[in-house]
């Protein structure tokens, strides 16, 4: 065994309520009337549907294709017919809809052709890809695609692989029962992770209120001859938080700004290891999971449930008491009341708790904070929740960040102990989402500012260029006038017919002369603004051109100036 365990500060000891649901073995839940399988069931990209309404699908058939590396595939949980691909309410506190594949089971539960492999014969990339294709995600609740956590770091050697069987939330026992009944497959799954990551040691942490699970895991580890350590950790919520368990088992503290792999640690849930083994060695993608159904029910129990099973149908199996008024998904510390009892079980659903006021009395009215500091003592991240609350309430979000609000893991310990019944976690979620919203706004504003500044710069540049051109034109005009004067002197006899009448006309009518002069200027300008081949003309060329122009005018060809036309009319 290991020499000693470490401890994390804070934590609370709520009543565990676990014994209720551990008395009976895992039971398979019967096929529900229909399955609503959300496409987005993991962190990362939303899988794209690859089936259409009316298609017949087999159990385990791909229905949603992973979109990008951090995304995991979704499969048909049973054989049947796709009824629709439509928006349905999600098991999320927001109550928002998302795209789901609705399948009507045909009752045959017919598998696709499964392709078991010996992963030791495959290159690591292929094992990772198989896991992604099988939709293996973290089943502890975070549903991060597992293959994305199985790339060994190139810079930091992997020291410890931590396997999380702590299951610290009250009421939840699905990991406990999994370890009791399927320990061998869990250990085999851990071996896959071990072979991919090559850690120095593997530590399996289980809270000491689950002696049966720990014994089963030890037996399995011994039977398979694996050098894994099964370690019982003190029961203290939230010992099952990844960072807390890593702290307890390795003494390492993972700050908010870092990943555990930066410290040479990686962490997986026991259920994730189990599904990874099923995916690789049996070719079974993740189409079901263990769910604890407990709370205000007659027969609390763990069920193997198809993903997409409506929660109300699952809850009925445990015979809820008639005064049940809601369903909590997850545990009582971090779970939430589902917005609609028909929402489907998803990969993140580890527990359903039938809610009623007897089990969870309504909260007493909120009182002002008396700065008693209980929350700070209970915080496993050693934050000062009452200070963050103060600033969150005042919408002074900058200050909440100074007090490290993003280190908060929302475990609920502070709310649990608060004598003033302040829903502290709610305030922190509010502050975090406000900060994110502001950051988005700021990014948008910064983008707009950049674009505006560039536009101004461009306009200024164009203005400067124009001014330069005008200056050049003025210079050209001066040169031209000089040239014209010279041309007039030189070509006096070359175009007497034109020259003389203009002079006469000018003498006759000063107005006309002014108009003619203006026209000439405009023409000169036009010419100056014209192609670059006019820029470097010599005096002779200019003279020549002037002569040509004069001739053309005389002949009345082309762009004869109106002055000439007028003159003709004379």
């Amino acid at each position: 065994m290991l020499a000693s365990l470490f401890r994390f500060k804070g934590g609370v000891k709520p009543p565990t309520h676990k014994a209720e649901s551990t008395g009976r073995p895992i039971a398979p839940a019967p096929l529900p009337s229909r399955l609503v399988v959300p496409l987005h069931q993991s962190i990362g990209g939303t899988p794209k549907p690859v089936v259409a309404a009316g298609d017949r699908v087999l159990k385990g058939q791909l229905i949603g294709e992973a979109d990008g590396w951090i995304s995991a595939a979704v499969h048909a949980p049973t054989s049947g017919t796709v009824r629709e691909i439509a928006m349905h309410v999600q098991p999320h506190p927001s109550g928002l809809d998302a795209l789901c594949v609705v399948i009507e089971p045909d009752g045959k539960d017919e598998w696709i052709e499964r392709q078991p492999v010996d992963y030791r014969l495959l290159p690591p990339e292929e094992v990772r890809e198989r896991l992604q294709q099988a939709g293996v995600v973290g089943l502890g609740g975070a549903v991060f695609p597992t293959h994305g956590k199985l790339n060994p770091s190139k810079t930091v050697p992997m020291e410890e692989l931590v396997i999380n069987g702590a299951e610290c939330e009250p009421f939840i026992t699905c990991d406990d029962l999994l370890m009791r009944e399927r320990a061998e497959e869990v250990v085999r799954g851990i071996a896959i992770f071990r072979d991919l990551l090559q850690p120095n040691k593997v530590l399996i942490g289980i809270e000491d209120n689950k002696p049966e699970a720990a014994a089963a895991m030890r037996a399995a580890v011994d039977a398979l001859g694996e050098p894994f350590f099964v370690i019982q950790v003190p029961t203290l919520y939230p010992a099952g938080g990844a960072k807390q368990l890593i702290r307890v088992l390795t003494g390492k503290e993972v700050p908010a700004a870092k990943r555990s792999t930066d410290l040479g640690v990686q962490c997986f849930n026991v259920a994730t290891a189990y599904t990874a083994w099923r995916a690789i060695a049996h070719g079974e993608p993740v189409v079901s999971r263990l769910v604890t159904v407990t709370g205000n029910v007659h027969e609390p129990r763990n069920y193997e449930v198809l993903i997409g099973t409506p929660m109300d149908e699952l809850l009925k199996l445990a015979t809820p008491h008639p005064d049940t008024d809601g369903i909590i998904m997850g545990g009582p510390m971090m779970g939430f009341l589902v917005p609609d009892i028909h929402v489907p079980v998803v990969k993140a659903t580890n527990c359903l708790i039938a809610h009623n006021d007897r089990l969870f009395p309504p909260k007493a009215p909120e009182m002002p904070c008396i700065r008693c500091g209980s929350c700070a003592e209970a915080c496993p991240h050693e934050l000062q929740p009452f200070e963050m609350y103060w600033f969150a309430r005042a919408k002074n979000f900058g200050k909440t960040q100074e007090y490290a609000i993003f280190d908060c893991i929302e475990c609920g310990c502070c709310s649990y102990v608060c004598p003033s019944r302040i829903p502290l976690v709610q305030y922190f979620r509010f502050a975090k989402s406000e900060i994110w919203a502001r950051e988005r706004e700021k990014n948008a504003a910064d983008g707009a500012k950049d674009r505006f500044e560039f536009k101004q710069f461009r306009e200024d540049r164009e203005k400067a260029e124009k001014a330069e051109k005008l200056a050049k034109a003025a210079a050209a005009q001066a040169a031209k006038k000089a040239a014209e004067a010279a041309a007039a002197a030189a070509a006096g006899d070359a175009a007497p017919a034109t020259e003389a009448p203009v002079a006469v006309g000018a003498a006759e009518d000063p107005k006309k002369a002014a108009v003619a002069a203006a026209m000439a200027r405009a023409k000169a300008q036009r010419e100056a603004a014209q192609p670059k081949n006019m820029d470097a003309v010599t005096h002779e060329q200019e003279r020549e051109m002037a002569a040509i122009d004069a001739r053309r005018e005389a002949a009345g060809i082309a762009d004869a100036p109106p002055a000439a036309a007028e003159k003709k009319a004379d």
């Binding site: 702290r247 510390m333 008396i370 700065r371 000062q384 709310s415």
Partner: protein, 338 residues
């Protein structure tokens, strides 16, 4: 139905905290009533009534729910601390004035429960000792057993205030004697006066202080208060009194005497531990407690007031925002950084 997690809550409430504080005061009050006189019970009743009436009136003015806030017990704690720090034979209106000032000005004008920067009971004490120094200095001689009836008449103003009934407090007696004649009198000689002094501190009062100590330890055991403030307070008081006592035992009283005299025990466990006006970080609590203990000694020994706890606590209340800012603990995962 909307209810945010956690759905399980610990069985804790503000009124439970306050009730426990009141319960913890009971041993001290019992010793007080038994050894000094039952008049304290009358004062406790007067202060409680005044506090509840003032609290109700202010809640009404501020449009707050009456039942919820009246039952939180915070006004009662303030009232009891006022009654226990005022002279037991003080006229009823003095206690009422102090209590009403504490509730109306020191508590509600600052925003009510949880918002007051100063300990309301200590504000009341400071205001009254500055405004009515004579009345606030009349402490009964412990040796004189006055019938309850007579004590009541004095409190209610029905009988004339007799100077004969009152005497110097142990702290006062020591200070005055040492100031008057620095060369000839020494502490050991003075402490032999069994009218005023008992086994290790003031006659009778030492057991009242012991009662507070017992109640305070119970509060710590119940985790209503942490050890930081009382330990720092007592350690600082013992350290400075011990240093001067070692330096000149003829002129300075022992740490034991100081710990069990005046408001030291009450201050260490019940007044300086007020969470609202005190420091909140662990290191901050140590600084806060030590500062209060140190100042209390300096004021009671070298200052003009009979005891220094009230002013010491108020002065430290002033420093709390700064102390808290400078003593923020390192958070999880940040311990290695400087």
């Amino acid at each position: 139905m909307f209810a945010p997690a956690p759905f399980l809550l610990k069985d804790a409430s503000v009124s439970r905290v306050m009730t426990q504080v009141c319960l913890a005061l009971v041993p001290g009050i019992a010793a007080y009533a038994w050894l000094v006189g039952p008049a304290i019970l009358v004062q406790l009743a007067i202060a409680s009534l005044a506090a509840l009436v003032a609290e109700a009136a202010m809640l009404k003015v501020r449009g707050k729910p009456l039942a919820l806030f009246l039952s939180d017990g915070s006004a009662l704690v303030t009232a009891w601390l006022i009654a226990l720090t005022f002279p037991p034979l003080a006229p009823w209106w003095l206690v009422v004035t102090g209590t009403v000032f504490a509730i109306v000005v020191a508590k509600h004008l600052y925003g009510g429960l949880g918002q007051n920067p100063f300990n309301p009971a200590m504000v009341a004490f400071a205001v009254c000792i500055v405004s009515f120094p004579a009345l606030m200095s009349q402490w009964p001689s412990v040796g004189l057993q006055v019938p309850l009836r007579e004590q009541l008449d004095i409190i209610l103003g029905l009988a004339p205030r007799l100077d004969a009934l009152t005497g110097a407090t142990p702290l006062d007696a020591l200070k005055t004697a040492l100031k008057l004649d620095e060369s000839s009198v020494d502490v050991a000689h003075l402490l032999a006066n069994q009218d005023i002094f008992g086994n290790f501190a003031g006659r009778g009062w030492e057991w009242v202080a012991a009662g507070y100590l017992v109640g305070g330890l119970w509060l710590w055991q119940r985790k209503v208060i942490s050890w930081h403030v009382p330990v720092a307070f007592a350690a600082a008081l013992a350290a400075i009194s011990g240093a001067l006592w070692v330096y000149n035992p003829a002129h300075f009283a022992s740490p034991l005497f100081h710990l069990f005299s005046g408001g030291a025990m009450l201050g260490a466990f019940f007044i300086a531990t007020d969470p609202v006006s005190g420091s909140t970080t662990p290191r901050g609590k140590l600084i806060f407690g030590a500062g209060a203990g140190l100042l209390a000694y300096l004021i009671r020994v070298f200052g003009g007031y009979p005891d220094g706890v009230a002013f010491a606590v108020l002065l430290m209340n002033l420093c709390v925002p700064l102390i808290d800012l400078l003593t923020q603990p390192r958070i999880f995962g940040m311990k290695d950084k400087p």
